[in-house]
Point group: C2
């Protein structure tokens, strides 16, 4: 299986995965299709540009039996694109167990020509004790092993019987369990990786999402991503419009959900910031073909079945739009900004963002240089990968010896790079032998020598944020100045009267040089 | 003319205006139509639900002359909805002057059956000295007076000649000028109001917007709104997707723009957070019918004329969607949240939001009670009208005499209202005679007796924001506690060890009661 990455930002990747029935691009939202009573026509999904759907192999087996093997899953659901199948894990979660074993489900998924298949797993859900969750993880691992054994045996038989089988095979997905127990998630992910699965799928987020426990969800994805940095990651049951940008930013390449139809059945209409009951709408905040063909009242007046189908169509358009927005944002290098903006739709999403501070893996996919300026608004922005990188670069910067007598620290201006400002020219005239630096609460110390390096000259911050920042909120800044002073041992530091830097200086723990405060006019 | 308001939030209003050619709903985006070489078919605009367009009467006069009076403007532009006409002010701004006088333009606009017409004005643009701007304002006022005189004379002649004229007449719009000189804007608005204009139109924002001077724009609108609190306000030349929610929130009921086609001519594609060059797009972040019928490449490969038309169509869909989103947000009572979220799209928009603090007029339209919880994230949210109102209510609250021995201040919990929490029950057991209050950095002091009043029990704040808030950022809180202490003269105040309240106490300027700090366990 190939996974070709064309763009990335944070841990998000625009990539391409090849299967027996064609390729699809990631990040991708995969609509759940019911193999028997599907509400939205799969042909409509093709028209909408969905190149991959997911359906339930267990339900297919129960309903169609061996007929499914003869017809194949693509014929059953009348869809020519990529078909992923789930194995019954969802049923296990809901009803405790299913009446099949991993071997049966493995053989069946292979026989119905599933393009991407999942071993029968035992989802941990949310709220299990560590011990019980561990048992579930272990059982899922055993199932996964048995699945691979079944597949390998079948393959060997085929080879012995000299059947020509050059086409790509079913791609098997490693089902990661462990839920809120990060240690188990890590163990689960690493074990499946070792077994050789090409795609990893993270289970059990639905209940976390229903409880708006987005922070736990983020931790679960982070544990996975740290264990599996390169292989594609699928997230089961993630169809909430609020969280798509976040889960993609954290590195989920694929995610499936039936939300579009489940919401529709409850007359819930998806919009950019969540869902609304249809009857609470006075206007459609949308210009999709469905919303353009009805007024709210007309849609409400349809009979239940037709209404459900139409709302489901709209919901699909919205989910598809959100994924397109996120993809374009990845190309633009503005995913951090978008995730931050989106988090303002709900305080519970915002709570999850606090974690991004410590998600070092967000840095790997973030380009070293971006064409667009960074927009920074909130203290959290000091932790974006570009800022962390810049501070690291500065921590390696050494001021030339002849400049170490004096450091001049000047607050950031609107003019970038700083050396092109008249302020800089005046400063060099006044202090010809000094090391001159500007500073930004978000980026730290900016030596003029590297003030044109990304993102020092490529960022925009609201004036008010720059002038009102409080040292307390910017621990990375204090650290950055501390290190800079240690590494360059200046004799004297000139600062201008600026409340931010004055506050910072109080917090400097290193052996302080002689600080001298100047008025801005001086 | 009637202006019927059905919903409001901040200074935004969902209203309805009746004209000779039907009614339209506000807030409304009014596409600019070229009377001679229009790129997007006006029939398409009708299909898209645009019930009002604006076109240029001066250009119409130049090109069609008296033919226009015979045919009428609706026939000229082939459109059956409401037609508003501008008078040539734009041409004055661009070319310095026009070859007609106010009387001619007044008679002409009446004769072509314009539904909403504008006297020939002299736009101040942006960057004029106060003196020159004042001259322009005065000249515009004179023109407006002459326009009304012309119309009144015509009406009297008609009455004398016994012509039956029961239908609604052309609605004349008062052209406010003054730009960044708020005093002139106020003078201009008040004078036009006195003259009896039914709709006010604020001129000259285009150059401010092009310079991203959104703060100046907001001040200009505020000056208008303070002078004209009830009549509908039109804003000329406002078609930037970033600012629609802001200008509506500030009280602009109507706004027109040719941006959809001007951007299209430069291959600029409007999206929720701004515009992008078509060639910079890899995906359409949109599901409008236009975007669904092309790939980016296909659209780029069209010939220039066809491409311009298609991009203009998409741009119209996007602007229409943004207006629908804003309208639904008004109905939901979430306009403040939406404006805040939108401001995260660009630091320059965020800069403008700082002004909202002092825009007292945002309170008039904000409902006293909302069905949905307030979401609060940022110190700026302490200035939202609901919070201001609540603090005012608390400033009138008097603790019963027997409770004035002791005030217990407890940090806000997730449980609303506070009296339904076990913490409260325990506190009353321990301090049966005490006045018990919670506090929130955003709302101030919350006496338990009114802890179920909106929005005390109807708000959601990220946990981190609650626990990390700094007293410095919440001057309204310090003021609220100060007043509460003055009005109720407690002998003793018990607080729990909470860094926020400890910081606040340091800043209390009133004669301090005896503060006693408890551990949370006590």
């Amino acid at each position: 299986m190939s996974f070709e990455v064309r763009h990335s930002d944070l841990a998000a990747r625009i990539g391409k995965i090849e299967t027996m029935h064609g390729a699809f691009e990631t990040p991708v939202f995969i609509p759940v299709i019911h193999p028997v009573k599907q509400i939205v026509d799969t042909k409509f999904l093709e028209k909408l540009g969905f190149k991959i759907v997911i359906t339930n192999a267990y339900t297919t087996l129960k309903y169609y039996g061996t007929e499914a093997c003869e017809r194949g899953i693509h014929d059953i659901i009348n869809y020519n694109g990529v078909v992923m199948t789930d194995s019954g894990g969802y049923q296990v979660l809901r009803y405790g167990s299913v009446e099949v074993n991993p071997q049966t489900m493995a053989a069946f998924q292979k026989d119905i020509s599933s393009d991407i298949a999942v071993p029968l797993d035992k989802p941990t859900g949310y709220g299990l004790s560590y011990e019980l969750a561990k048992e579930y993880v272990q059982q899922t691992l055993n199932n996964a092993r048995e699945t691979l054994d079944t597949i390998h045996e079948a393959r060997e038989e085929k080879i012995e019987s000299q059947v020509d089988d050059n086409c790509v095979d079913t791609i098997w997905v490693g089902p990661i369990q462990g839920a809120e127990h990060s240690g188990l998630v890590k163990y689960s992910a690493e074990s499946l990786d070792t077994l050789g699965f090409k795609i990893m799928a993270l289970g059990s987020p639905v209940e976390l999402m229903e409880a708006y426990e987005f922070a736990l969800l983020a931790q679960m994805i982070a544990a996975t991503k740290r264990a599996i940095p390169t292989k594609p990651i699928h997230l089961f049951g993630a169809g909430h419009p609020l969280t798509i940008s976040l889960i993609v930013a954290l590195g989920c390449d694929m995610f499936d959900s039936a939300s579009y139809v489940l919401y529709a059945k409850e007359d819930r209409y998806i919009h950019a910031n969540g869902t609304s009951k249809l009857r609470d709408l006075s206007y459609f905040p949308c210009q999709c073909p469905t919303c353009l063909s009805y007024t709210v009242k007309e849609l409400l007046d349809l009979d239940k079945e037709k209404r459900t189908a139409e709302v489901a169509n709209h919901n699909l358009y919205m989910l598809q739009a959100e994924v397109s927005i996120v993809k374009q944002t990845i190309v633009d290098g503005r995913l951090w900004e978008y995730v931050m903006q989106k988090a303002h739709a709900h305080p519970k999403v915002m709570e999850a963002l606090e974690l991004l501070k410590n998600f070092e893996f967000l840095e790997y996919g973030t380009p070293l240089f971006k064409r667009r300026a960074l927009f920074m608004f909130d203290p959290l922005d000091q932790y974006r990968p570009e800022a962390k990188r810049f501070r690291r670069m500065v921590s390696n910067f050494r001021s030339p010896k002849y400049k170490r007598k004096r450091l001049v620290l000047y607050p950031e201006l609107d003019i970038h790079p700083f050396y092109s400002s008249t302020t800089f020219v005046n400063l060099t005239k006044k202090f010809p032998d000094a090391q001159i630096c500007t500073y930004s609460p978000f980026l730290g110390i900016i030596p003029v020598e590297i003030s044109d390096i990304f993102p020092a000259a490529h960022n925009l911050i609201p004036r008010k944020t720059l002038t009102n920042s409080q040292a307390k909120d910017y621990p990375t800044f204090i650290d950055s100045l501390n290190r800079f002073l240690i590494e360059n041992s200046f004799e004297e530091v000139l600062i201008v009267e600026d409340h931010f830097i004055l506050e910072v200086i109080e917090k400097i723990t290193t052996q302080k040089p002689n600080f001298k405060v100047l008025r801005l006019q001086e």
